[in-house]
């Protein structure tokens, strides 16, 4: 397991020497910042029937950067190792395949969390300017960020999986994006044809609805298990793909 830690450090530092990471950071900060500014402006105009948390997380300005930045963060992870051939020096070092998969996923997750770190400022700003602090309980804040982490882990694991399939970063990004979009939009069928069992199924898988629950401070363990197990499943698939060189 020491290999995991060494490799995690290497993967993280690799993010910071690539200009792409900084581009993603700026894009992300701009989008979430704009989203926050909009929410503030609406509240300035008069009372709304939602609180700040759900208002922020419901807009496209939250989902759009999330869905776009994940494939960009993960596309390099395995594809570049394969293209450069460094996969060979990595996989012949005394480190297990599983440690390699986990280190790459965790590095992406840490970077993703760094993207979200500035968003914590919004909470402080809001608490500072608002007279009524009740809609900004720490519970709802924690719930929101918990949701961001859980949904993010799942999407990142999809990205890691896509990257393990190819030696081309662009293909890895496109495949990841396609899979994430499918996962995300399958949760929207509720609005299109919502009745009976279909609605029930969609309720289980809709990231949009889950996020809405979390921002209101509803902690449903079913959702937590759902995302954790999906993440584990995607990482399991990735592990099998990495291992597949041994069966070919």
């Amino acid at each position: 397991m020491s290999g995991l830690w060494v490799q995690l450090r290497r993967e993280l530092s690799a993010y910071f020497v690539s200009p792409l990471a900084y581009v993603v950071m700026v894009f992300f900060l701009a989008m979430t910042g704009y989203s926050f500014a909009l929410v503030m402006e609406f509240f300035n105009r008069g009372p709304l029937d939602v609180s700040a948390g759900p208002a922020f997380f419901r807009t496209g300005l939250f989902w759009f950067p999330l869905l776009f930045s994940v494939p960009v963060l993960t596309m390099r992870l395995f594809a570049e190792e394969k293209r450069q051939g460094t996969i060979e020096t990595l996989m012949t070092a005394p480190i297990s395949d599983l440690s390699v998969v986990l280190s790459k996923f965790l590095a992406a997750l840490v970077f993703y969390l760094l993207l979200w770190l500035p968003a914590l400022c919004y909470v402080f700003v809001l608490r500072w300017v608002a007279d009524d602090k009740t809609p900004l309980e720490w519970g709802t804040t924690l719930g929101s960020f918990g949701g961001v982490i859980l949904i993010g882990s799942f999407y990142l694991s999809i990205g890691v999986f896509a990257s393990s399939l190819t030696r081309n970063q662009i293909i890895a990004a496109v495949v990841a994006f396609a899979l994430i979009i499918v996962a995300f939009f399958s949760g929207f069928r509720a609005f299109l044809q919502g009745s009976g069992w279909q609605q029930k199924v969609v309720e289980y898988i809709s990231a949009f609805q889950h996020m809405d629950e979390w921002t209101r401070g509803i902690m449903d363990t079913r959702r937590i298990v759902f995302y954790l197990s999906l993440t584990a499943f995607m990482l399991f698939l990735t592990h099998k793909v990495v291992e597949s060189r041994k069966w070919k």
């Binding site: 020497v17 020096t89 005394p94 060189r245």
Partner: protein, 320 residues
């Protein structure tokens, strides 16, 4: 150090190596020689635990490459064919990362890294980004990485490919020096390289081992080797040929006119015997002026061509 038994690797549709057996003793520098696609890289990838064989067994330092892969990995320094590196890292940074990954204990790490930088001549570029280095230096970084955990066995896949003659000489020199402390398996398709660096050669062709011996012994074994060449003045070629035919054990004689009235005769013996003395006596007794007398050295190249041709013939016969 290495023991390979009945090793076979099949990819979908073709067999890369077929029932290969060989052993490498501790301290040997063994050259793995073969044309492109002969199965050199496949064998090395199996030995370095990158992928397992289809059937057969291989072990390094007594550990099975599949069952005890982690033990093998700690004892093998492997440099793949294209020398892949994380080119965005600095030399120091990269070696530190690799040393940690290869579980070099913290208290030895600094010393080991300093040592391999010295061995590989990387001191003056230690702070540079790998991408900015010349190909020769990159190759040395790859070697330093392979060495950093002080492995018992070094597996180097085409370590001099793509280098200029000067760099090739440096890398060869380096490998020779490393051979004093490590067992080395080195693959190449450049023959002089093997002759210069290795004390044993394994020739592999189409996934099968066709010969395994010292370069000197291989040269001896080749039939009809070692023609003698002499350049003499003052006679016409036909007369000279007739005279040389009187030497016992001659297979054939060729002669041609060269410049300044000299003729050049090439005398082939029946067996691998040395004809120089007899040829010299013949020229002296006829009072011919000699300006050159030499024996053609049978190069590994000839052996290689002969051996691989033999395999081809066999295959053609089998097909017929």
């Amino acid at each position: 150090m290495i023991k390979v038994e009945n090793l076979t690797k099949r990819y979908a549709g073709f067999t890369a190596i077929d029932d290969v057996n060989f052993e490498v003793q501790k301290g040997e520098i063994v050259g793995f020689l073969g044309p492109n696609g002969a199965g050199k890289s496949t064998t090395m990838r199996i030995l370095s635990c990158f992928m397992p064989a289809s059937t057969g067994r291989a072990s390094v330092a007594g550990f099975d490459v599949f069952e005890q892969s982690n033990e093998v990995r700690k004892r093998v320094g492997y440099m793949p064919e294209s020398n892949p590196l994380y080119t965005e890292m600095r030399v120091n940074e990269y070696l530190h990362y690799r040393a940690r990954l290869k579980q070099v204990p913290r208290r030895h790490r600094k010393d080991r890294i300093e040592r391999v930088k010295e061995q590989c001549g990387l001191k003056e570029v230690e702070r540079k980004i790998i991408n900015h280095l010349s190909k020769g230096y990159k190759q040395r970084v790859g070697l330093a990485d392979a060495l950093v955990h002080d492995p018992d066995l070094l597996i180097l896949d085409e370590p001099t490919i793509g280098l200029d003659p000067h760099q090739i000489r440096q890398v060869r020199e380096l490998i020779k020096n490393l051979g004093k402390q490590h067992t080395i398996l080195i693959s190449t398709h450049i023959l002089p390289e093997v002759e210069m660096t290795c004390n044993r050669v394994i020739i592999i062709h189409k996934g099968r081992i066709v010969a395994s011996d010292t370069p000197a012994n291989l040269t001896k074994h080749v039939k009809s080797g070692g023609a003698t060449v002499i350049e003499v003045k003052g006679i016409n070629p036909a007369v000279a040929e007739k005279q040389f035919w009187t030497i016992p054990g001659i297979q054939s004689v060729q002669s041609e006119r060269v410049d300044d009235g000299y003729i050049r005769c090439t005398i082939f013996p029946n067996t691998n015997q040395d004809l120089r003395e007899a040829v010299f006596e013949k020229a002296i007794s006829n009072r011919w002026a000699i300006r050159e007398l030499s024996r053609q050295r049978q190069s590994l190249e000839d052996i290689f061509v002969e051996l691989t041709r033999g395999v081809k013939k066999q295959e053609e016969e089998e097909e017929a």
